[in-house]
């Protein structure tokens, strides 16, 4: 009887899967090398051209799929891959090398790919240097096609398989057979292209397993838990059966959730919970609408500033805000004003370096100190307001003084615009993003002057527990289920209820369907999350009874530790 071994990583695509481990070893160094006879050169070049044509077809198909399922911006990554295939310095150089050095196509491909990878990796520009991975991916694909294999024979998998690799590349994920049920990788993060693809394909994935991945041998049974970020090697038969039952139940639940995604989320006792989407770019609005979001709970405006070479103009901002507002019609769209500080670099303006940027001049503090930047944003927002149902939210407010100042700027900008003859919507709610312990503890004071609250649990957790989750030594302390956080959330909700204003949540916690009952019990009326989670959270809401949820929430908030709070749920 083997004992199960649990490996810890980062869950990058949710869900549970069980299958046999199939190692994907990249064999760039092991391509066959041979010297060609003179009469073989033309044939070898033709073989290369065939592989390039197939690669082009495969990448185009992948590009189309990503454009449809994820978004045009993500899909454009593959345009560079396609351009490499047509590059005289790349595939052209391979053809030249085949003739000049009389080497086979695989060897030419490996050598030219390696030369280009080295060239790209040495570029001073960080973004361009990162393209080194792209060329490696394209080169790997060509070698695979030249060898006429999938690198490993995925076509003949006997049963469900979990792909195991040091790092997964986009080419690994195209044309995957249906037997592949999940992924495990030593490296990679949630933002890796393949993590995005895994979520699109609904395949559970755990990355960041590090060296512990070596404990996985080919053919061993694995359970991938993409929610908890765990991989179990050699699970017990009971565990395997449990996972299979769970998968079945999840699939049924998901089907039900998606069928009803566009219906309102109402608890069993008749309370409507607004389920909103977090949106990072205007292009993502369509996906959020399609997922069934009742509105936007957090539109981050940072992209306008970070991906630019100048301070974004009023006109540029107006266009972006208008796009999102129009996509949602009369549904609320909460737009957060600029949330930036010394930890971010703008290409066109140096923000002062700070010893401790998360406790420094950031978010609303920075905006109030740089009123021209703030004013431009507010004017753009107010001008866009007539295109939809705009709500404006100020980040990191910790005192009523800041809120008053921010509101005064809105009033001033409104007056300016009205004098200029611009139409501005009369009823624009102005709210506070509750993400400091100070704001939560004085929520009753803020509620007198704010039109709504939205709790940002990521920062609230980090500030309250004084733990940076990016720091591996203290990341275990970062736990939004700490009773301290639960009590701050409850306090904020109580204050909002008393003042009769709406209270929502836009941190990651809001998208975790396992916590939906707890959050409703704490008093939240609106939950905002990545679009992908909307249908499942809505379905979860439909099973909740508010009175029972309150009892549970009170028990969790009164628990002695995060673990004790978890056992209540």
């Amino acid at each position: 009887m083997m004992t199960a071994r649990i490996l810890h990583g980062i869950g990058v695509s949710p869900g549970l899967a069980v299958g046999a481990a199939v190692w994907l070893r990249r064999a760039t160094a092991e391509v066959p090398v041979r010297t060609l006879a003179e009469n073989e050169v033309a044939g070898e070049q033709a073989r290369l051209r065939d592989a390039v044509a197939t690669a082009r077809a495969e990448i185009s198909a992948l590009r189309e799929r990503v454009a449809k399922d994820v978004g045009e911006a993500e899909a454009q990554v593959f345009d560079a891959h396609l351009a490499f295939l047509d590059d005289p310095a790349y595939t052209g150089e391979m053809e030249r090398k085949i003739a000049a050095e009389r080497v086979n196509a695989e060897a030419a491909c490996r050598d030219v790919t390696e030369a280009m990878r080295t060239m790209l990796a040495s570029l001073p520009d960080e973004y361009l240097a990162a393209r080194a991975d792209d060329i490696l991916d394209v080169g790997g694909r060509l070698v695979r096609l030249l060898q006429g294999t999938a690198g490993l024979d995925l076509a003949h998998l006997p049963g469900p398989a979990v792909l195991v690799a040091d790092e997964l590349l986009p080419s690994d994920l195209s044309g995957l057979p249906a037997q592949v049920v999940g992924f495990a990788a030593a490296r990679g993060s949630r933002t890796a292209h393949t993590a995005i693809l895994a979520r699109t394909m609904r395949l559970p994935a755990v990355y960041g397993l590090g060296e512990s991945i070596e404990a996985i041998a080919d053919g061993r049974t694995l359970v991938v838990d993409g929610d908890a970020g765990l991989v179990t090697v050699d699970p017990s038969a009971e565990e395997v059966e449990r996972v299979q039952r769970d998968r079945q139940a999840q699939a049924e639940l998901r089907a039900r959730a998606e069928a009803r995604a566009h219906e309102a989320a109402v608890t069993r006792d008749g309370r409507r919970i607004e389920v909103f989407a977090n949106v990072g770019k205007p292009e993502d609005a369509a996906a959020a609408v399609a997922a069934g979001a009742d509105g936007v709970g957090l539109f981050r405006t940072e992209f306008l500033y970070l991906e630019n070479d100048h301070w974004p103009t009023e006109e540029e901002q107006y266009d972006a805000y208008r796009q999102v507002l129009e996509a949602f019609g009369d549904k609320p769209v909460i737009i957060r004003t600029l949330d930036i500080g010394g930890d971010k670099q703008l290409p066109y303006a140096k923000l002062p370096a700070e010893e401790n940027p998360f406790l420094g001049l950031r978010a609303i503090r920075w905006c109030l100190a740089e009123p021209e930047v703030f004013r431009t944003q507010l004017r753009a927002l107010l001008r866009a307001s007539r295109h939809g149902n705009l709500w404006i939210m100020f980040p990191m407010v910790e005192s009523v003084t800041e809120l008053r100042e921010a509101k005064a700027w809105v009033a001033r900008c409104r007056e300016e615009l009205v004098q200029e003859g611009v139409e501005v919507r009369a009823d624009i709610p102005l709210g506070v993003m509750v993400e400091t312990p100070a704001a939560a503890l004085t929520a009753d004071v803020l509620a007198r002057e704010a039109d709504f609250f939205s709790i940002g649990t990521n920062d609230l957790t980090q500030y309250t527990l004084a733990a940076d989750r990016g720091n591996a030594d203290v990341a275990h302390l970062y736990d939004p289920l700490h009773p301290a956080i639960l009590r701050l959330i409850r306090m904020t909700c109580d204050a909002a209820a008393k003042a009769g204003i709406q209270v929502g949540m836009c941190g990651e916690m809001a998208g975790d369907a396992a916590l939906t009952e707890l959050l409703i019990g704490l008093g939240l009326q609106e939950l905002s999350m990545s679009s992908a989670f909307v249908p499942m959270v809505k379905e979860q809401v439909r099973g909740v009874d508010t009175a029972a949820a309150r009892v549970k929430a009170d028990a969790a908030a009164g628990a002695e530790s995060p673990d004790a709070a978890r056992t209540v749920l």
Binding site: A80, D86, D87, Y90, M119, L120
Partner: protein
């Protein structure tokens, strides 16, 4: 042979996406086209060549075209660069 010097004013310099657009445009013309930054010159029809120049925002490059339709090629590329390479 014709050439012209232009300054890159798009958002990110010659990153993958703008470089892809530039290379695509260059590929439409039958003549040879090069891009020069400082003393390094590369084939404008090569995405890797163009990326290897690592041209940043605000930097100046020279476009050179030689062969049939060189005038049209130069004009098209300069216009594309001046229009911000799809991300003005």
């Amino acid at each position: 042979m014709v050439e012209q010097t232009v300054t890159l004013n798009n958002r990110s310099g010659l990153h993958a996406r703008p470089a892809t657009l530039l290379v695509r445009e260059a590929g439409k013309h039958p003549c040879n086209v090069w891009i020069r930054k400082g003393d390094k010159e590369v084939d404008a029809k090569s995405i890797l060549g163009v990326m290897s120049l690592a041209v940043g925002r605000g930097e100046t490059i020279t476009v050179r075209a030689d062969g049939s339709g060189e005038e049209a090629a130069l004009k098209a590329l300069v216009e594309l660069i001046e229009s911000g390479l799809g991300e003005a």
